[in-house]
Each structure stands twice: as C-alpha cells, then as structure tokens.
Amino acid sequence: MSSTVKNSSYELIDVTTPFERLVHLAFAGSCILLFISGFSLMFHSLSFITNIFGGPYVTKYVHNFSGLLFAVSGLFAVVIWFKEGAIFNADDIKWFMKGGGYLWTKEGIPPQGRFNAGQKMYFVLKAATWALMSVTGIIMWFPYFFGRELTIFSYPLHALGVASLAGAVVVHGFLGSLGNPGTIQAMITGKCTRAWAKLQHAKWLKEYDEKHGK
C-alpha cells in the first residue's frame, strides 16, 4: 500500500506540468479575486466585502490589476490548452448524452482523455469570456480614451461575461475539489493516483501507460 508500488492503485503519476499549474494558479486566483472585488462593487448590498481589501477605492485597483493578471495568464491558458481543450470528438458527444455520469447514470461513460468533455466545454467558455472580459475591462478602465459609444457598450457586455461565468466557475471549483476527491493535488503537486486516473481519465491513462512502456 505504498505510493511507490508500480501499477498499484495508489501509485502517484504526473498528470500536469509545473508550468500548467502555475498558469492555472494565476488564472484561477485572479479570476476569484475579480469575482470577489467585482461583486462587492457591483452590488451595493455586498459593499461591506470591500473592507477585506481596504475599502472601495482599493478594491477598484485590486479589480484592475488582478484583471491584468487574468488577461496575461488567460492568454497562456488559451495557448497551452487549446489543442486538448477546444477540439471535441465522438466520445465527447457520448459524454454529453450521458450528462458526464454526474446526473442520471454512471454507466456507459466513454473513457476520457486528460480533459473530459465537461472540462472542454468549460475551457471554451473560459476562452471566450477571457477575451470578452479582458477587452471590455480595459475599455471600462479607460472610458475617456475609448469614448462614449465603446464604453457604454462594454458595461452590459462585461456584465454578460459575469453572468455566463458566475455559475460555471462555482461548478468548476466544486467539481475540481469536493465533487471529485483526488483532483486538488493534480492542480497543486501535479500528481494523481492511478485509481483517480482510471476513474476520471481512463483514455489518458492508457496513453500514459503505452508511452511509458506498459
């Protein structure tokens, strides 16, 4: 029952690269900061939350600069995960038909690659809103420079991005932690257990084993 035992279900295998983890940490961290600061400014009733940053004035700057981090880390995220995240295959369709095994059935879920179809869907949403939020955010930051028309269009578009992300981010955070034990360490240390890989990403595990001569 040791993690060093090859091929045991406890065996720890590398599932993410350090660079991936860094990009994910920056993108996710900035995203969470943006949500907290943004919601505390958007809703007067949540204004008390601005106190954790030091008041509304600081919160505005927290939002602006975590927005910059979001824009930069998002660019890396889109580039490094585009091939795995944005290209769907027949298995993904089957996965969707079964609700990913989360809702009404756990049977007949096709084995998934390193990203399952739900994660791919989240990637596509994230890539689209990354572009939308970065562009409208910069315009809203400098309304005099961009002028009335562009600015006034950016306000509802920015809120549309929030509306389409808010629920998805919560679900993504849940599925990556409480919903699927064993996932957090893939984000932090980069390791997963063989049992976790077999359950969540069997197709990827098969490719991994083939690559490592098993």
Binding site: M42, Y57, P143, I152, V162, G167, G179
Partner: protein, 263 residues
Amino acid sequence: MKEKIMLVDLSKCTACRSCQVACKNWNGLPAVPTINSGTYQNPPDLNAKTYTLIRFQELEARDGAMKWLFRNDKCFHCTDAGCMKACPVPGCITRTESGAVVLDSTKCIGCKYCYHACPFSVPQFDAATEKMYKCHWCHDRQAEGRIPACAKACPTGTIQFGDKDAMLALANKRVKELGGDASVYGDKHLDGTHVVYVLTEKPEVYDNLPVHPKISPLIFLWKDVLKPFSMLTFLGGLGACALYYLIKGPKRPKFEEGGEKHE
C-alpha cells in the same frame, strides 16, 4: 424641505458669468489656465474645477446678422439620474429632499461610470485626485435656507430658485410671453430635471444639449437585467453543487490493495 426647481431663463442671460465666478467662490475652486481658442467660452468645457459654465454660441439670425446664444450649463439634478444608477459606491451619489443629486467626491473611487451614464456628460474627472466632481446644487447653502450661489449672484434674473410648482408655472408663463420657438426644457425629461431651462430657440439649435436626454438602454440592460442575472447564475451554481453533494456525494476513485497490473 420642499422640492425645488432652478429655473434658467436663457432669454435673460447676458453671459456676465457671475454664476461661474460665484460658484468658484463658494466652492473654493481655483481658476484653470486655458488657451484662447477663438471663443469667449472659457474654460472650453465643464471640468473638475468648473461646476457651471456659460456656453457661448454664435448663431446666424434670419437677417444674416450674428446672434449670441448663451447657456448656463451644469448638472441638471435629474429625478431619474444616470450617475446614481451607475455608481458602485453606496452613499457616494445621493439625493437631497429639495432634489439635488450630490456627489460626495471623498467617497468616489474614480471608476468614471457616472460620466458616460449621465446623458449630459456632467461629472468631471480630476486626474490629480482620481475623483469625479460636479455641481451639488449648493446643498450646503440650501441646508442653511440659502439659495445656490449661482442663483444668488445672477444679476439679470436668469437663474431663479424656488418651489417646484411656482417655478414651473413661471417657466410656462415665460414661454408664452416669448412665443416663437421658445420652450421649457427639462421638466419632461428623466422624470423631471431639477434644473429647467426656458429656451429661446429649438433644443436642437443649442450645442451640447441633447434633444431627448435619456439614460442609455444599455445602462438599464447592464444594471437592471444582467447584474441581477449574474447573481442568479452564481447562486444557481452554488445551489446545484450543494444539492449534488448532498444527493449524489463525491465521485471517489476505487483503491485496491497490491500492485496488480492495470488492464
């Protein structure tokens, strides 16, 4: 305090700029150095240190001669105020009983939302303090029973300040007297502005004056539709996760003892 109206009868304005000076004086605002751009209008626009401004406009009269149009420009103190709708900081833009829309610059975070949300682009940004400033209708003077400084200083009776009904009656009476293209401007816009003009020309003749001022529908889409919707999706996501966790629970990997070969 009763609801007030500031009546600005442009037919009486001589562009003496007493209002401009009195406003600077009362609010302790310094002069802003400007460059002569070929007009008497100075400064060229409202700015963070100029809450009210006489706009000078040259108009060609019917006989080919030149005619001046003067307009005392400042915050209209709208009943349906776009700036209040857009401001993210509670208590930063508030309304007094008399109808003043007061921007407390000490609470301003410099997001500039109010600038474009205002149909008249009234609030002005000061880069040095990173805050917005605008006419506050001398709410401090009003609290002491005084009238705003610009109205006090106006020597021609252009700017008058009083109870709503009396001022609107006066405005309508004056428009009848003037006849022609004269009209009352403001009382029907934005649920009634608290600064109301008597215009001598059609509204479209005046520079920088929207004919039908209204808060952009995009501001409503932002604040009244998508903002609550984003909270809805957030809570929906949270609720769905909580329910899922309670009903289905986590998806745990199966661990087996020993080092058996993987398929």
